[in-house]
């Protein structure tokens, strides 16, 4: 029984990871890739870690697994945010299929202040069509 649970959990985990990897390869711009990484990976990692917790069925392992999962969740989302933000600063091209871009021109290039009201700075990533 335990084995089957582990198998199911780990299979799903691995598949999630795989799907993220596929997405990473296929998404047309960096923002989409960042966006996609965070989620699938977290669940993939989570499931695999949980299956390890089930496998060892040990209190100390379980707590550590939970800690790790929380930690991964936290860092992956914050990391994604920071990377996306930095990418935007550096004007990393954005896919031209993007419907709305309300961030365009909102960053002040010198002070890096982000405005909530309408602003018109030079920080507007180019649009790109060529997914690479």
């Amino acid at each position: 029984m335990k084995e089957i649970i582990i198998m199911i959990l780990s299979t799903f985990g691995a598949l999630f990871v795989l799907s993220t990897s596929v997405a990473m390869l296929r998404k047309p711009d960096v923002y989409l890739r960042i966006s996609v990484t965070g989620k699938a990976a977290t669940l993939g990692i989570g499931l695999l870690l949980i299956s390890a917790a089930v496998f060892f069925s040990d209190y100390s392992v379980t707590t550590r697994v939970i800690a790790t999962i929380i930690f991964v969740l936290l860092t992956v989302t914050i990391g994604g945010h920071m990377l996306a933000r930095a990418a935007y600063f550096t004007k990393t091209p954005i896919w031209n299929g993007t419907k709305i871009d309300e961030l365009a021109g909102q960053y002040d290039p010198k002070t890096h202040i982000l405005y909530s009201e309408k602003h018109n700075s030079s920080i507007k990533p180019e649009k790109t069509d060529t997914p690479s």
Binding site: T20, M82, T90
Partner: protein, 90 residues
Amino acid sequence: MSLQEYFQLIIIPILGISVILVFIRFIKGPSLADRVIALDMLILISICIIAVYSMVFNHSTFLDIAMLFALIAFLSTTAYAYYLEQRERK
């Protein structure tokens, strides 16, 4: 099929393929942010691999390494972000 074999034959290969896919992204880039996110992803996958290995070899201590990996992955991501921002600012 024992659990060990299952891991060896199914899970690890899947994760391995993921590594390769991510690595392709890593090579292609094109921006630094792409590479960084790919590296990040590689580390995340390796956390998964560690989790699986800990089961394969029945050593729970490997899981601590996973925790450390997560922490460090975070550091490198922030560092890259920091770097990108600083580069822009110079």
